[in-house]
């Protein structure tokens, strides 16, 4: 089994098409919608967890989407912890809903697993030194033609 969370950005011509249905039907990929929105300029953004029998199987589905002009990026690439700033208090572990921020016991180190992160951003403002950054903001608000 292969599971990964992706940010998908649909051009406005495609945001009304049932591509996710094709992922299921033609590529046998399970999906879990973590976030979905259609922006002002009608382009769509989704954060999806995709699960397939193998990495190859999920990649085939993603290649299909890319062929249609959908931008695909792993969500983990968009989440960052500044390890210089983080002083390992653990406040974030109380709000992270998926255990991506967690404590290793008994050393009580605060660890971050970007693969598990769903991009909810709750940790960003709860962190007392703002060590967490989720850089999704641009895609969510800026019209496609303004992104250079």
């Amino acid at each position: 089994m292969f599971t990964q969370i992706y940010v998908l950005r649909f051009p406005k011509e495609t945001s009304d098409q049932p591509y996710i249905y094709q992922l299921v039907k033609e590529y046998d990929i399970e999906f879990n919608i973590l976030k979905a929105d259609i922006l002002l300029q009608r382009e769509g953004v989704m954060i999806l967890e995709l699960k397939g029998s193998s990495k190859h199987n999920v990649n085939a589905g993603l290649e299909y989407l890319k062929g249609l002009g959908v931008q695909v990026e792993r969500l983990a690439a968009r989440i960052h912890r500044d390890d210089e700033k983080c002083f390992q208090c653990g406040a974030c572990t109380g709000v992270c809903p998926v255990g991506a921020l967690y404590i290793k016991r008994p050393s009580m180190e605060v660890l971050f697993d970007p693969q598990k992160c769903t991009g909810c951003s709750l940790c960003v403002t709860v962190c007392p030194v703002r060590a967490m950054a989720v850089s999704l903001a641009e895609e969510w608000v800026v019209p496609e033609e303004l992104i250079v």
Binding site: C89, A91, R105, P106, S107, P128, R130
Partner: protein, 391 residues
């Protein structure tokens, strides 16, 4: 025939430190030593136990002198990077508190407020060598005719900068939950409604005053690790309250003693003093504090051998009780339970999260251990011990 009980003096321990022969261990290491060898033997073998804690400590700040100009000024209002400082001292003396937000901060008008910059951040910026904007206003006198001052200064430009924290190192602290039906944003972090998380803030078995629960060695004049440099305990802290319920071992079961500490800011480090922003609450300063405890006898070995499972605190509701001044506990939990990741409150399992960094606390205890073991840091006999509640 019984062996004579061990008894050491500060002078003997310092002589061993100077000779490079002192045996120094951290409070975490001491737990196992006392468990295995017993207190008497541990006291024979160990000379000093080092403690540490690193967490937001609100009652912190800096006294500073920012130098005169021509015409001279008696500043009555002072700002550093737009953060107001208290100027009701002498002409160019002021105190900036860690919890003071930047003057144009939206505070909680946009709820919950982010409090991105405050007094704690000013202190951190100075330690990072950054220039800060100093502004002062005055009403003008015959001897101090200046009315306004505006200049950029860095830490080196200040003739005097003293970290002076009226309350640090709380001996134990509440475990916070929220029993109300809405999320609350507190100095104990974000607490979800209906008791769905519990936050706590103590270094537990590494925490200074939990290793000297009856204030036998920590007192006025105790030399300490403060903010990466050397500081001193200068008084008991505000809200110091030794008269609380205690375990048979003397460990307080709720928040009890506190320390007032100070030290020269110029020899401190931004690694150990960090400005913090607490969502919906405000600004503060995370302070690194470490205190060495001389093992004068078996009693001190027993105290410093305390482990997380022997230290208890109370579960307090911050949704309703705390702000209404209601003193009520929803149960007692040990730090071993809190550090395990979940506790039981009202029969329900609740996830816990720390606000105090054990990783940094351990690092401080290890640094202090190294300072002492290498002969660079001697122990001070306190001029007075802290009030212990007895008349």
């Amino acid at each position: 025939m019984t062996k004579q009980k061990i008894s050491k003096t500060y002078e003997e321990i310092n002589a061993r430190i100077k000779a490079g022969e002192a045996v120094v261990v951290t409070a975490e290491e001491m737990v196992g030593i006392v468990r295995e060898k017993g207190a008497e033997q541990a006291a024979r073998e160990v000379d000093v136990v080092t403690t540490g804690t690193f967490a937001p400590m609100c009652s912190s700040g800096m006294f500073f002198n920012f130098g005169q100009m021509v015409p001279t000024i008696k500043a009555s209002r002072v700002w550093v990077n737009k953060v107001p400082a208290y100027a009701g001292l002498a002409a160019v003396d002021a105190y900036i508190g860690a919890t003071e937000p930047c003057e144009d901060d939206p505070l909680n008008k946009i709820y919950p407020g982010e409090f991105r910059y405050g007094g704690g951040h000013v202190i951190e910026d100075l330690l990072r060598g950054k220039k800060v904007l100093l502004e002062a206003k005055a009403y003008g006198t015959d001897c101090y005719a200046g009315r306004k001052m505006k200049k950029e200064v860095c830490l080196d430009d200040l003739s005097f900068a003293l970290l002076c924290n009226p309350r640090n190192g709380y001996q134990n602290y509440n475990c916070a939950v929220n029993l109300s039906d809405r999320a609350v944003y507190t100095y104990m972090g974000m607490l979800k409604p209906h008791c769905r998380n519990a936050n706590y803030c103590s270094a537990g078995e590494l925490s200074p005053l939990l290793n000297d629960p009856l204030y036998k060695t920590i007192g006025i004049g105790t030399r300490i690790f403060l903010g990466g440099g050397i500081g001193y305990v200068t008084w008991h802290g505000t809200q110091h309250n030794p008269a609380v319920p205690r375990t048979p071992g003397g460990v307080p079961r709720k928040a009890a003693g506190t320390l007032m500490v100070q030290g020269d800011l110029k020899q401190m480090s931004p690694d150990w003093l960090r400005g913090v922003s607490i969502l919906g609450y405000g600004n503060s300063l995370a302070v690194g504090l470490g205190i060495p405890i001389p093992i004068l006898n078996a009693e001190m070995a027993t105290f410093t051998g305390v482990s997380d499972k022997d230290i208890y605190t109370q579960i307090v509701d911050y949704g309703h009780d705390y702000t209404n001044g209601i003193v009520r506990s929803y149960g007692e939990v040990s730090y071993a339970q809190l550090k395990s990741g979940s506790i039981i409150v009202n029969g329900k399992e609740v996830q816990t999260a720390p606000l105090s960094s054990v990783v940094k606390a351990r690092e401080i205890a290890c640094m202090l251990k190294e300072w002492i073991a290498s002969g660079r840091f001697l122990l001070n006999h306190p001029a007075e011990t802290l009030p212990d509640g007895s008349e």
